[in-house]
Amino acid sequence: MNTRAVIDVSELPHHDFDTYDPVWWGNNLLLAIETSMFAILIATYFYLRQNFDLWPPPVAQLTATLRPLPQLLYGTFNTILLVLSCGPMILTDLAARRGNRAVCQIGLIICVLCGLTALVLRSLEYSAMYFRWDSNAYGSAVWFLLGMHHLHLLVLTSESVLLLVWILRREFDMKHRVDIVTVAVYWYWVVAIWIVLYAIIYFTPRLG
């Protein structure tokens, strides 16, 4: 009688967190794509700056020449809000790992509210700018930077809403716990990218 050796996997779990799960890798590869996109976008911003004596370019008023530095109000509020939103997200992240459904639900609700507020603040920010996207190359670059980040905020918030609805209405299963941990990575990334963009958009023109 022949025999054969086997590796019996029938007791392996279906899902696990972080590097174990293909979804985590898919999400991180997406973030690698988007990180290179932002890196090239930032390079574009500085490349275009070479064409200007003053960055941002001056706006000729009737009486005086105004240096229209980007206003700090909305951007700073948004930065504080996004950094603070990492708190509930970390709690949600940890609760998903422990399997604590209630904390996950509450944490995600807070995060979604933060995301929605950030979206509103970003919309207000556009109207407070001195330039439109079609004013000059500076305007185009800044609108594009803000717009791409805006898009990510929108996708992130929508994704969190979907997951929230799932764990409110359906099972709090392992698959969706892994999803929550994965969305948390996305959340931290969106915040981290924003901190970089905040420094670049608002402070590099002030440095000279």
Binding site: R4, A5, V6, E11, L12, Y20, Y47, L48, S135, A137
Partner: protein
Amino acid sequence: MSHKEPQKEDKARSARDQSGAGPPHSKEARVSVRSRNLVAPWSAAARRRFGPARSAPALEQSTITDEELAAAMQREKDELERTWARPTGVLGWLKDTDHKAIALRYIVTAFIFFILGGIEAALMRIQLAFPDNHFLNPDRYNQVFTVHGTTMMFLFAVPIMTALGIYFVPLMVGARDVAFPRLNLYGYYVYLIGGLLLYTGFLLNTGPDAGWFAYVPLSGPAYSPGKRVDIWAQMITFTEISALVGAVVVIGTVFKMRAPGMSLNRIPLFVWAQVVTSFMIIFAMPAVMLASSFLASDRLIDTHFFNPAEGGDAILYQHLFWFFGHPEVYIIFIPALGFISPIIITFSRRKIFGHVPLVLSLIATGFIGFGLWVHHMFATPIPQMGQSFFTAASMMISIPSGVQIFCWIATLWGAKLNLKTPLLFVLGFFGIFILGGLTGVMLASVPLDLQIHDTFFVVAHLHYVLIGGSVFPLFGAFYYWFPKWTGRLLSERAGRWNFWLMFIGFNLVFFPMHQLGLNGMPRRVYTYLPDSGWGTLNLIASIGAFVLASGVLVFIVNAVWAYRAGLVAGDNPWGGESLEWSISSPPPHYNFHNIPVVPGHYPLWQAAANATVVRGLSTTKRETLVTSVLDAQPELRFEIPGPSIWPLMVALATGVTFIVGIFTPWAFAVGAVLTLVTLTCWFFGDPNYENKPARDTGERKEVVSPRGGLQPKEV
């Protein structure tokens, strides 16, 4: 198992050890020490992670009879067949997520675009055959060469290379499907929409006409009014989404779904090439996405990225485009290198010389490929320091290419070659690609480049590297893997005609172009005057074009004939060594009945008579094994999503967004809503996996052997 070939015993092994080369049908009749060790560390890891001990799987005497076991195995296969069945009907066809079906659709679609691009090339060669010809008018000629270049680069070369990866990566790493099958399906639909968009425009006389790289300011709003360039820009968006999706799918599959035993050092060279390409796509494609989005927004909503009057910069476009465009060449070329290695291994019937240098060369090419882009821009005001740097980098990249070619020659040297058509195409690759590489080293030198910039010399160079470097290996790959796709062999006789017609035709078309370029004939002119003296060489090139085309025609006839009446191939017609040859041709929907355990670099040549396999995956759910990134230790029984209509719907939403976006920016708002809605349905819609109560929990004991034998013997 049913897929095993006739086994030979230790004789074969000792013969192999002495010769140092694996004859294709010999098997090393040993369960390698590594594969046995593999059980223990995993068990230890499993104990740490999943609680107290289970006894490590061991060889066990089965107590059931052969017949009982065979029947149990057949039941299992039938059940797998039902679980993995592809949906039927038109709707089912649209929902089908089987990676093999998607890959074949990609291949057929890309090949149709290859033929269309070839027809455009033929039109150009007819136009240029004689001086002062009026076959095409200048405007039509502009569209033809732009659509030809765009088609060949974006709709043929990149997708077909990805497609071979999507087909074979899961088979070579021993997975039952790719990591993200629905995403994969979405990628195909987006690609198809992009291709249809380009050709709809072309047929309506709205084909793009600013060259395949659409330089500003020519392609900007001032000099290209109308919708032609917009169609080009959005087509780029579609193909780039599709390529990115394909890259994520391939990397996810290779990192997490390799069969146990396939540690990092045992990954086949084909798969390495696909991984390196995928990483290059991830870091290069965002640049062209930005270039085409900036271009589209300059044209549609009056941004000023490339408008010098408002502080924009036309050279910025060239940087963004070529930061993608040069890696693009390697994105097309590296997968082809991945075809060459298995073909050489199989037809020289020995182990590859220098596995590690080959892998390192692929990775080095991937890195250096990002440091070359400025050599496309030597005719722009780049500082001399920059020029020197990029000259050095351009010359440096010939080092890893050289290492690979020498490794292959060393493998072929002195081997008893089985000179079948696939190998013939690889040998053709050597000749043509080396010539293209030599002109590449010449073009890397700034003074020479300035002289022949934008002449036919460049046209000759790029066709030598791209057709020689990619299309010849690709045709070799067609001959090599056609039996796996269809179960039938292509005709060898026709294959030889195909190769020689293509080889001679190719050199007839493109070799004279070197001289034409040196004589000063610029590219992209629709005609030339009789007293330029370019007539004879152009006529030779045009004749060559038809010889080349007849070679492709022979292939098409061969493929159609072989599909119906070719020789039946069997599982492993060439005596190949990688896992895709261990299963039937065409493969079953579930790929592998039992996920194999990989014993070495050459799994089939080294497989033991009753090789270790993985047991315990469900047969009633679409389960595959997820393993660790470095050592491929089993981690999860991962359930793969099945057929779904929502990838198509999301692709249509994407299509509406970008196509209607050519006409009104409001399309982006509408498209965002549509995309959100369809994605929500993707998330909540038909959860026909995971939460559906399983008919069985994946426990196989009852099915295989009612008396509890977990270790069945060979069927």
